[in-house]
């Protein structure tokens, strides 16, 4: 009998600091992953947690991990040549086929940029089949900005708009906009609402108000997708932590169409 | 022409009151638990001989005031069933049931309601109060004892010469623990902070544990259950004009036999050391004179404190004296 809880060792081939507390880890693995899926990441004796895959390619995956607790604190000590344990991937990712030939707008708040990074990098390297792609991203401060190098590269190919909540004294120089991401949504060009598809990923409050703004921009509910973050201990539909109504976020999510997501009352 | 021996009257549990010729009878209720049928006797005495009222004493007895001293013999006969049911029935030796209470110096053994009703109580306080009554009564030495079910000490055992506080040794099965931390958080808030989490399971610091049993009550999974029952003895608490103070712990994690033996020994100690030149000497003040080491030596004679038992080596009694010059 297969033991679904059994993790396997994955070697770290690269560690790319994004901010003081967010590091991207590249792991050597042949896993077949879709954008928006997640892994259960663990270090025996320390803990296990769900982490979304931020990018992947042939023979590798990347996860961007914020140092917020015991497990991620230990992971942040790890260097290339080290390893941690993973199992997965779990959940349904983004329905890429729905986006073919569409104008896709991605609204990402903070670490919410990680789960959609692979869509951005694929499109910007000419692999996607989107008509157009726009990125709206919000961070707390300029220092919290993820994927700075990638964003510079993306700017060459697509419309990228970044906003920060505030500029504090420790911030790197900032000439972008300040304010909530909803401010960007009210102004983002929407050429053809019927052909536009939207992905929103971020904290619950950000996703809620961003969705309402997109609705005001005449984007249909069924053309919006969101990705949920919940406590999960298994990724297998057993532990019960991520259940909302009859929906298991680990099984049916974490990506939901907005028509379903707005029905889910925690 | 009243010619009353007040010494005898007092030992008979009556008292000299401010109304000349009138007395008040003090009814003992060991453990504070009384079958309501005895209300009939109390009611009859109060209505037929007294003022029609009773006073409920701090020691959980009844005081029936307004009784003519000349009626004492008559009332003592009426009291016979109460003495039989409340004293003889629990093993107290009373030679003449028609003669009223044979002694009054040793006060009623009071008790909180205990585990017959209270969820916090670690034992049946009434039963232990009655066992103590059997050991110490009748006796004229001025001693106050109370029994309480848990360290909440609702009976104010800390105001007594001997206060008995119920304890339980909590037993922990880590495999049953769901790590909800309810016990730990509660212990920190309402008890002694004896619990901490190590590797998601609970560690109990026995030095800090009060044996109150709160962890057992809070546990949803019965990971904490009741182990053996123990007692803590606090001693020499007192009110009064001379150096009032709260009782301090003398021994803890001891069994019922040790409690009863220490109490019995204390009476022998009083008998040996009391200042008989005084009309009466309260036990606390005897200990002040002899010093605690003498008290300890005498009361611990032949006491088995058991493998868990701890006895205080030193007691920093506090309290205060009325030092008027300090104003």
């Amino acid at each position: 009998m297969n033991n679904a809880y059994l993790p396997f060792k994955a070697a770290i081939t690269g560690v790319m600091p994004q901010t003081a507390s967010d590091y991207t880890y590249r792991l050597a693995t042949d896993l077949d992953v879709r954008p928006g899926q997640f892994m259960e990441v663990s270090i025996p004796g320390v803990g296990e947690a769900p982490i979304s895959v931020s990018d992947f390619g042939s023979g590798w995956i990347e996860m961007t991990i914020r140092n917020v607790g015991r497990l991620t604190g230990v992971i942040h000590e790890l260097k290339p040549g080290g390893h941690f344990f993973i199992r997965g991937p779990y959940g349904h990712g983004f329905p890429l086929e729905e986006f073919t030939g569409r104008d896709l707008i991605i609204a990402a708040g903070g670490t919410g940029l990680a789960p959609v990074k692979s869509i951005l990098s694929r499109h910007c390297s000419g692999q996607g089949r989107l008509k157009s792609l726009t990125l709206l991203a919000g961070f707390k401060t300029p220092s919290d900005m993820l994927f700075k190098d990638e964003i510079s590269a993306w700017r060459e190919k697509i419309d990228v708009q970044i906003t920060v909540d505030k500029i504090d004294e420790n911030s790197s120089p900032w000439d972008g906009s300040t304010g909530l991401i909803t401010g960007l949504i009210t102004k983002v060009p929407v050429q053809n609402p019927g052909n536009t598809r939207v992905i929103i990923v971020g904290p619950p409050v950000m996703m809620k108000f961003s969705a309402l703004e997109f609705l005001k921009r005449d984007i249909a509910r069924e053309n919006i997708w969101v990705s949920f973050e919940r406590k999960m201990c298994c990724g297998l539909g057993k532990c019960g932590h991520c259940k909302i109504d009859d929906t298991y976020v680990c099984l049916e999510g974490p990506v939901f169409n907005y028509t379903r997501a707005e029905e889910l009352i925690d | 022409m009243l010619d009353i021996n007040t010494k005898k009257l007092i030992k008979n549990a009556y008292r000299v009151t401010k109304d000349r010729g009138f007395t008040a009878l003090r009814v003992r209720v060991p453990g504070g638990s009384l079958d309501v049928r005895y209300f009939d006797i109390i009611k009859r005495i109060a209505e037929e001989y007294g003022s029609g009222r009773v006073h409920i004493t701090t020691r959980q007895g009844f005081e029936i005031p307004g009784i003519p001293m000349v009626k004492i013999a008559e009332i003592n006969e009426i009291m016979a069933p109460l003495l039989a049911g409340m004293e003889s029935a629990i093993g107290v030796e009373i030679n003449d049931l028609n003669g009223g209470y044979p002694a009054a110096g040793t006060r009623n053994v009071s008790a909180c309601i205990g585990n017959s009703v209270c969820p916090f109580a670690n034992f049946n306080t009434t039963e232990l109060a009655r066992k103590i009554e059997k050991v110490i009564y009748p006796n004229d030495f001025h001693v106050k004892i109370a029994v309480t079910g848990c360290p909440n000490d609702c009976i104010k055992a800390h105001m007594q010469d001997i206060g008995v506080i119920g304890m339980v040794l909590p037993e922990y099965d880590p495999d049953r623990c769901i790590g909800c931390e309810a016990c730990m958080k509660n212990c920190r808030k309402v008890a002694s902070g004896a619990l901490s989490m190590v590797n998601y399971k609970v560690k109990r610091d026995h030095q800090r544990c009060l044996g109150c049993g709160e962890c057992i009550l809070k546990c949803p999974a019965s990971a904490w259950t009741r182990g053996d029952r123990y007692y803590r003895l606090v001693i020499m608490g007192r009110t009064g004009k001379k150096n009032p103070r709260i009782a301090r712990t003398f021994m803890e994690w001891v069994g019922e036999d040790a409690v009863l033996k220490v109490i019995a020994n204390m009476y022998a100690y009083i008998d040996k050391y009391i200042d008989r030149t005084l009309p009466k000497e309260h036990v606390g003040y005897i200990v002040d004179r002899t010093g605690l080491p003498v008290f300890c030596r005498e009361v611990l004679l032949d006491v088995d404190t058991g493998s868990m038992g701890k006895v205080a080596g030193f007691i920093p009694f506090g309290g205060y004296v009325y030092e008027r010059s300090s104003y």
Partner: protein, 337 residues
């Protein structure tokens, strides 16, 4: 196969069975209740028939026998990890009809949900044989009849206390074994057909009910202690815990421990964000799972009506009454539509 077995013979029968089975049953432990001088009725491995408590409902359900409160998934050392051994013997569980129905709910989650079998549950589950103790009459707070769990077709042995004997209906391999210890009788199982407590589970529950002020009352009454979920025979949630041993920090284990949606932290993620901070919302979440969303997903209600949640709630919150209140509100909502 009906067999009438005297108690002393029944004891010998259990001795024979204990060669091949771990035998578990509700037992009454004096002085182990939370309140002093009260007993605890709970599950234990037993050695003799005399230990079995036939007359009282157990505080905890038998689910802990195959889904332990704390279960080690892996032991690990510096270079390798291993799984705890699984016992060779079968497992006999003395329980009630509702408890057997509850195991079916556990099966739904652990064996089927998400399309993968939980190996730890599955390996023990297939060892289980149900020895079902007939309920002569409903216990306090039971509402099995309302939940349709009073009757039971699927058992290995049905037992009826009959004076100083057991009347048994033994099936499968047990039929032959039981016959050797008593005389043949006709034994047709009888089930409780009425409970004092009755509930009506609403067919459809509108989202309006989720937002109804009813739940606010529970925010002030519930203390989030988790007694209801720990005693529930159908609650399945767990949390992972990784530890290093204190005395050997190079070795440790990954284990799972029962979790409760009523207790603080159930939804908390590292970083601090959580959901259902109000206790009333937790009550709603639990009630809906037991009588609504499990049914939406699997076709039948999760709650088996054993009433243990009502038995153990220190705040006297009645789950059964809550179901009826939800029903009243739900029918009111649909009537307005």
């Amino acid at each position: 196969m009906g067999v009438y077995i005297k108690n002393n013979s029944f004891d010998q029968l259990l001795t024979e069975l204990s060669r091949d089975y771990i035998i578990t049953a509700p037992v009454k432990l004096p002085g182990k209740g939370a309140f002093s001088d009260t007993p605890l009725v709970t599950y234990r491995e037993i050695r003799g028939a005399g230990e079995i408590e036939f007359n009282e409902k157990s505080r905890f359900s038998p689910k802990e026998i195959i889904y332990p409160i704390t279960q080690t998934l892996f032991y690990f050392t510096e270079n390798e990890y291993s799984r705890p051994a699984v016992p060779d013997q079968g497992i006999i569980i003395f329980c009630r009809a509702c408890d057997v129905h509850a195991f079916r709910r556990l099966d739904e989650i652990f064996l089927r949900n998400g399309g993968c079998e939980d190996i730890y549950f599955a390996e023990l589950r297939k060892k289980v044989k149900f020895f079902v103790m007939e309920c002569r009459e409903s216990f306090e707070n039971c509402f099995c009849v309302s939940m349709g769990t009073n009757r039971l077709e699927d058992y290995d042995v049905m037992l009826r206390v009959s004076g100083d004997a057991q009347e048994c209906d033994a099936r499968g391999d047990f039929a032959g074994i039981f016959t050797g210890y008593g005389e043949a009788v006709e034994m047709i199982p009888r089930f409780v057909e009425e409970n004092h407590t009755k509930v009506t589970v609403p067919e459809n529950i509108d989202r309006q009910v989720f937002k109804h002020p009813l739940w606010e009352e529970y925010s002030s009454r519930c203390i989030a202690c988790g007694h209801c979920t720990v005693s529930c025979p159908t609650c399945t949630c767990f949390t992972m815990q990784d530890i290093f041993y204190e005395d050997n920090p190079k070795c440790g284990e990954r284990r799972r421990v029962w979790a409760s949606c009523m207790i603080d932290g159930f939804t908390s993620m590292v970083g601090g964000h959580g959901f259902r901070n109000e206790k009333g919302d937790r009550m709603r979440f639990k009630v809906m799972h037991k009588i609504y969303d499990f049914r939406k997903r699997f076709g039948y209600n999760m709650c088996v009506g054993c009433g243990r949640c009502d038995d153990v709630c220190p705040e006297y919150i009645s789950f059964a009454n809550c179901i009826n209140r939800v029903n009243t509100i739900a029918s009111g909502v649909s009537a307005h539509e």
